[in-house]
């Protein structure tokens, strides 16, 4: 088996796959079982003054046959006594010395409260502390969670308080519910954070029951906005991880979180700069055993870490003279004409319909109209049937930045627009 041992901000673990703070890391029994099944680390369900939860806490968004494409929750932090949690963290660490055990903390924004909590946590032997500045629901109304993580000064201040007493690495968990996450990330760095983890959940209302008009999940007929997660949020998380990982000021390790369910998801986060990965929703759906896929898909991690990061750039740096043309493999085409509909109504009217006869092609690309947008390839239900092919030209690459400054020349491009009256075009 591949050697996936990881050192993250000074924290060692047998592999970079950690359970994110949440329902799967609520107890000794869960975390021990997860470690037995192969997880490299676990961030304990957030500890603080015990809360009282509502009944009905989760809502889900299905996509066709696929359950839980998106998932949200209005659950709060641990409802178990701090002492019980700390005792079990110590026990897990004692019995699994090689695994990463991280305590997630959330207490009221007072220096003494944080000092006391951090000291108690360190006594457990935990490898690190994660500061939960991210939960967008419930706790934020009490001035904690994302209420801290949305204000750079608060973030910096609390990290400073924690670092005054902490001797183990401190990870700051960021909320995505901000306009520019790099401001918060920089504030955490300024406060002395050793690492960042992101993203926490996204504010959401997961749905409305149209017979009762109750938002979901319903609690006695009412609901509240909750934190959205699951496969649906991965693109948002990838963007925010890349934004923080590529920030010239941040420069500290990042633990990637958000919709990770397979080794491929994990590899994408790693390629965008994540050092470890945290998973919660996929475990809530399928159990701890999914770690087998995460581990099994990787032969190495070092080789891909950050590989995609230099390829994330500003729009103004993209080459305007890179031209693509859609290509339809007529042998693979099953003649559904979804590409035609999408292009005709939703894009550039660059696909021509051919009357159905003799089993010949029913769709053809109108090359002079195609703008290489990818839409037809995206809607095509057959793998590799529609591919985007580069159309070489003799023009040197030119970015918008250069072009706007009067430098470089644009290669001739598709200029055909569908301006005719409806019904007059074949």
């Amino acid at each position: 088996m591949a050697d996936l041992r990881t050192n993250f901000a000074g924290i060692d673990s047998p592999n970079p796959f950690w359970l994110a703070s949440g329902p799967p890391t609520n107890t000794y029994g869960q975390v021990a079982k997860a470690f037995d099944q192969g997880w490299g680390g676990a961030v304990w369900k957030t500890i603080g003054e015990p809360i009282i939860n509502v009944f009905s806490r989760y809502g889900a968004v299905d996509l066709g046959q696929n359950r839980m494409m998106g998932f949200n929750n209005i659950e709060l932090i641990s409802d178990r006594p701090i002492a019980d949690n700390l005792k079990e963290i110590a026990e897990v660490k004692r019995n699994y010395p090689k695994h990463a055990v991280i305590a997630s903390l959330m207490v009221e924004s007072k220096r003494e409260a944080w000092h006391e909590m951090v000291k108690q946590t360190e006594d457990t032997g935990a490898d690190g502390i994660e500061l939960n500045f991210g939960c967008p629901h419930g706790m934020s109304e009490r001035g904690m969670g994302s209420a801290v993580g949305q204000v750079p000064d608060y973030t910096c201040q609390i990290v400073e308080w924690v670092k005054e007493v902490a001797t183990i690495p401190v990870i700051v968990k960021l909320t995505p519910n901000v306009t520019d996450i790099t401001y918060i990330a920089r504030a955490a760095v300024k406060g002395g954070a050793d690492a960042l983890s992101l993203i926490n959940t996204i504010n959401s209302i997961v749905g409305v029951d149209l017979t009762t008009f109750e938002p979901q999940p319903s609690v006695a007929g009412k609901s509240s906005h909750g934190g959205y997660c699951g496969p649906a949020v991965k693109p948002i998380a990838l963007h925010l991880v890349s934004a923080v990982a590529g920030d010239p000021v941040v420069k500290i390790p990042i633990s990637g979180i958000g919709g990770i369910a397979s080794w491929r998801d994990a590899a994408e986060f790693i390629a965008l700069g994540a050092g470890t990965l945290q998973v919660c929703t996929a475990v809530m759906h399928y159990g701890f055993r999914i770690v087998e896929d995460l581990i099994g898909g990787h032969r190495t991690i070092a080789d891909i870490r950050g590989r995609a990061l230099p390829k994330v750039t500003k729009w103004e740096e993209l080459d305007l003279n890179y031209h693509l043309l859609a290509h339809i493999d007529q042998d693979k085409c099953i003649k559904c004409e979804l590409c035609w509909t999408a292009c005709e109504d939703g894009a550039h009217q660059a696909i021509r319909r051919v009357p159905r006869n003799n089993g010949g092609p029913v769709v053809e690309i109108i090359e002079e109209a195609c703008v290489g947008c990818n839409l037809c390839a995206a809607v095509c239900p057959v793998q590799d049937c529609i591919t985007m092919r580069q159309v070489p030209n003799d023009y040197a690459p030119v970015t918008w930045k250069e072009y706007a400054a009067g430098k470089g020349k644009l290669a001739p491009r598709s200029e055909q627009f569908h301006t005719a009256t409806w019904g007059t075009r074949a």
Binding site: Y286, E292, D293, V382
Partner: protein
């Protein structure tokens, strides 16, 4: 024998013997894999005699890790390639799929297994390595699925393995006896080669008459010799030219160009087990005008799987129930089969009779109480599926490893 020429064109014969379950396209495999619910303690895994972790291998197909998927399959079942094609999945994994209870088609587990494992043969992936040499030597009698499954795991434990096989080619019934439209000999042999490549010594054309010499020179012996020739009918006329046993008929078909296997114009197959179905369908696919199962008991007594019965009916084969063969008629060649029915004696005109009433046990004396002797496969279970043989071979390898001082895993 029959010398009537096969009336079908080569193209038609190729079509008739093409894979009855063609491989999935990448699109179809992804779609299918994503339908799997990923059950806990999955009924499909429980139903499989080798307990392949089916949800795990399907999940890996969905996540694009075909190599890892194949490893999950072949780790549990060294004959994952042939089982993907020839397993009676309707009564095993697919029959157990929970989607059946949601009034849906079960996940196409066999085709997904083929999708994952075909990659190993296509890209010649080497998924397993022999273990460090233990200095122990094991003799395996019979190079069928049981013996070679045992051999594969013994090599992974580092024991030296010598396999003795009476036939010229290894693979047992996988090579010689599975219906051509399910499993072709080249796939069976490629699968065997993967196992032999772990450093298994193979001696073909060697019939072991006694285990004594083997026990004298090896540390343990595994016997996976399968069953012997087809039982005799014990009725007059059964030695007439034109009467063949099903295994010989199928073996000839699988080891020669299709048109070189003689088939009658009107073929009768005696017996109603799965081998009888294989014989009757293949006689029909070779070009017999009629191919009819003749069975002494009723429709509901047939030992073949229901879907095999359906397949034979779909192929246009006939069925005569409650017809007990009395004698084969003919003078120098088969002219008919006399049967006793509920309404008296009757003659079924035919020019070929294929006998498929089960196999005899072999005569090799196996000292089963000897702690160094292990058995598995058809000779131990009385005749079952490839997957049973593979499971028994794998289980025996664990026991042998334990006896030889290993951890028995």
């Amino acid at each position: 024998m029959i010398d009537a020429p096969v009336p079908l064109s080569n193209e038609q014969l190729e079509r008739n013997f093409a894979d009855i379950a063609p491989p999935l396209t990448n699109d179809a495999a992804l779609l299918e894999a994503n339908k799997c619910l990923f059950c806990h303690d999955a009924p499909c895994t429980i139903a499989c005699p080798t307990h392949i972790d089916v949800p795990a291998f399907i999940k890996k197909i969905a996540s694009g890790n075909l190599r890892g998927s194949a490893r999950v399959i072949l780790e549990a079942n060294p004959f994952g390639h042939s089982c993907a094609r020839a397993c009676p999945v309707e009564v095993l994994c697919e029959g157990a799929c929970v989607l059946n209870d949601r009034d849906e088609q079960p996940i196409k587990i066999a085709l997904l297994q083929r999708h994952a494992t075909d990659v190993v043969l296509e890209r010649k992936l080497r998924l397993f390595e022999p273990g460090p040499n233990t200095g122990k030597r094991v003799a395996i009698v019979g190079a069928g699925p049981a013996g070679l499954a045992c051999a594969r795991d013994l090599r992974r434990h580092g024991h030296a393995v010598t396999v003795f096989e009476a036939q010229p080619q290894p693979g047992g019934l996988n090579t010689y006896g599975i219906a051509e439209y399910k499993l072709k000999a080249d796939v069976a042999l490629a699968e065997v080669q993967d196992i032999l490549d772990l450093g298994v010594e193979l001696k073909t054309g060697v019939t072991v008459a006694s285990l004594e010499p083997l026990l004298a020179s090896f540390d343990a012996v595994f016997v996976g010799i399968g069953l012997g020739s087809t039982k005799r009918l014990g009725i007059p006329g059964e030695d007439l030219p034109g009467v063949v046993d099903a295994l010989t008929f199928i073996e000839h078909l699988k080891t020669h160009p299709y048109r070189e296997t003689a088939v009658g114009r009107h073929v009768v197959v005696i017996g109603a087990g799965n081998t009888a179905i294989d014989a009757v369908t293949q006689a029909k696919r070779l070009g017999a005008a009629t191919a009819t199962i003749v069975y002494r008991r009723g429709e509901r007594d047939m030992p073949c799987y229901h879907y095999e019965y359906e397949l034979a009916k779909h192929d246009g084969c006939g069925f005569r129930f409650n017809a007990a063969p009395q004698r084969v008629l003919g003078n120098g060649a088969v002219a008919g089969l006399e049967v006793r029915t509920t309404s008296g004696t009757e003659t079924i005109p035919c020019d070929m009779v294929i006998v498929a009433i089960g196999q005899q046990e072999r005569s090799l004396v196996v000292p089963r109480t000897d702690p160094r002797v292990f058995v598995g496969g058809d000779c131990a279970n009385g005749g079952a599926e490839i997957v049973n043989a593979a499971a028994e071979g794998v289980a025996a390898a664990k026991k042998i490893d334990a006896v030889l001082g290993g951890k028995g895993r």
